[in-house]
């Protein structure tokens, strides 16, 4: 019946020690730090010595000054928080719908057949294309921002979740049923936790996409947020504000990624 008797057994062997390159740990950190400082120094120098016009690319010190100024005015964190909040609301809403629906669709061929046309239609639409309709439907308030993030991340999240459920070992479903699990139990107790690693790595990608969505929404119509900051800087030829906005986006996404990863390690501590 079974042609591969020992294959599974092999997985119980201790994993090989991870191969490290010639540069590891602390020295890698130092090298990265030095490279970072070097780039900033060259950039600063290039502007100071007149190789680059500050209008086209302001020096790092100018950007820091702008940041300090905005800190004093108390507007800096407002923009960061506004955008982060919009991303979180839209993203969490999208996940809350996409995860259960994706698990349901992933396990039921009939419902998949029903939803497939709608999904195939929604999937290729970039979040930008929803901006006119969302303005019409929700005005220029917060819910319009949420809706853009939602529409931009919902369909791809759903596909990630559906794909993740396909990777679940059918033997685990069999074992659960054998222990008395009903359809609902199989979905909640087996399919969901078994596909969670895949779902989370999908959501990590989605989080990046959600940021793109919110920035594009803010570029078009907003009074606050990092996208607005960039657009506003452009209006007044404040290139330092524009670049500061870009730097803040990058830093915020990095920070959320760190939080997300910590969360992932906690949730997936059973993974090898």
């Amino acid at each position: 019946m079974r042609a591969e008797p020992a294959v599974r057994g092999a997985s119980s062997a201790p994993p090989l020690p991870r191969r490290r390159g010639p540069i590891a740990g602390a020295s890698k950190l130092i090298i990265s730090l030095v490279s970072c400082i070097l780039i900033i120094a060259v950039w600063e120098g290039a502007v100071r010595f007149g190789f680059i016009q500050p209008l086209f690319l302001p020096a790092p010190s100018q950007i820091v000054n702008r940041a300090m100024l905005m800190l004093e005015q108390g507007t800096l964190f407002g923009h960061v928080i506004a955008s982060t909040w919009r991303v979180m609301v839209g993203f969490v809403l999208a996940s809350c719908v996409a995860i259960p629906l994706g698990i349901f669709l992933g396990t039921s061929a009939l419902s998949r057949a029903i939803f497939d046309p709608v999904l195939s239609f929604l999937r290729p639409l970039p979040s930008m294309s929803w901006i006119p309709l969302s303005l019409l439907w929700f005005g220029i308030g917060e819910s319009q921002k949420y809706s853009i993030v939602f529409m931009g991340s919902f369909a791809p999240s759903l596909l990630y979740v559906m794909e993740a459920t396909k990777g679940v070992d059918p033997l685990l479903v069999k074992a659960a049923q054998n222990l008395g699990a009903k359809q609902k139990d199989v979905m909640l107790e087996v399919i969901l936790p078994a596909s969670l690693p895949q779902i989370i790595s999908g959501l990590k990608v989605m989080l990046g996409i959600a940021w793109t969505c919110v920035i594009s929404a803010e570029l078009v119509a907003a009074r606050e947020g990092l996208g607005f900051l960039i657009m506003n800087g452009k209006e007044y030829f404040q290139t330092d504000t524009v670049v500061l906005g870009m730097v803040l986006i990058s830093l915020t996404v990095m920070a959320t990624d760190i939080v997300f990863r910590a969360l992932e390690r906690r949730i997936l501590k059973w993974k090898d």
């Binding site: 019946m1 042609a3 659960a176 054998n178 699990a181 936790p193």
Partner: protein, 262 residues
């Protein structure tokens, strides 16, 4: 039911199973009595896993009837607990939660489950590993968890689908001995599949030998070897005689299937 006497827990009546044009099991009839430890031996592809799958309700016979405790089942029947060759533990659950899974499905409270599971954790010798995840366990320990998980669910029949085939020889021997102990304590009805004649002789109270595809029963032997089946028993004349007897028909079937494949 039709006036049949014995208290058979499992009853196969003229069971056939085909997948498309492939006949996997041909007209099998046999009973397993309460408390028997039946080991089914046969070459690969003789339909022995199919038999287990049909008893557990994962699959339905194409012809004939399968009754478990006098009833035909149309879906998965948790009364027949299955131990799989690949353990099939839930990797996101601790040892304790894996073992308590069936109890959770029955709606027991967390405290009840924990207490109940502890009993079986100790039975299979995994005390101290309650909070460990399967990734941290060896193959032998994983299979212990799987056995405890089925036991905790208190099924009326335990089905073993080549459970020790993926383990090394030493671990296998230890687990075989433990299984015999558990069987002697619990007196569960057990149906166990293997392709090792020695394993069959060590564990069983009865041995059923299957033919190559399409699977039929070619021998049905009461295993009268004395317990415990230690090294001495394994060197006894009766042991060798039984082994030769079984090997004779298994060998013929293996040859037949090789020729059939060629």
């Amino acid at each position: 039911m039709e006036g049949l006497t014995s208290n058979a827990v499992i009853r196969f009546s003229d069971v056939s199973k085909s997948y498309g044009s492939l006949l996997a099991l041909n007209d099998v009839s046999f009973n397993v009595e309460e408390g028997e430890f039946v080991v089914i031996v046969g070459a690969s592809g003789c339909g022995k896993s199919t038999m287990l799958n049909m008893i557990a309700g994962f699959d339905q016979p194409s012809n004939g009837r399968i009754e478990v405790q006098g009833k035909e089942h149309s879906g998965v029947n948790p009364q027949c607990g299955m131990v799989f060759q690949q353990y099939a533990l839930f990797p996101w659950m601790t040892v304790e939660d894996n073992i308590a899974f069936g109890l959770k499905m029955k709606g027991q409270s967390k405290a009840e489950r924990r207490q109940h599971a502890q009993e079986f954790i100790e039975m299979v010798g995994l005390r101290g590993f309650e909070k460990a995840y399967p990734k941290a366990l060896s193959g032998g320990m994983r299979q212990r968890v799987a056995i405890a998980r089925v036991l905790a669910n208190s099924p009326s029949v335990m089905l073993f689908d080549e459970p020790f085939a993926a383990l090394d020889a030493m671990t296998r021997q230890v687990l075989q001995e433990e299984l015999v102990k558990i069987y002697e304590q619990q007196r569960k009805t057990i149906l166990f599949i293997t392709h090792s004649i020695d394993e069959a002789l060590l564990l069983s109270s009865r041995i059923v030998v299957m033919s190559a595809r399409p699977g039929r029963i070619v021998q049905d032997i009461q295993n009268d070897l004395p317990h415990p089946r230690n090294a001495e028993v394994q060197l006894s004349e009766r042991y060798v005689e039984l082994k030769r007897h079984i090997w004779g028909s298994v060998q013929a079937e293996v040859m037949r299937s090789i020729e059939g494949a060629a």
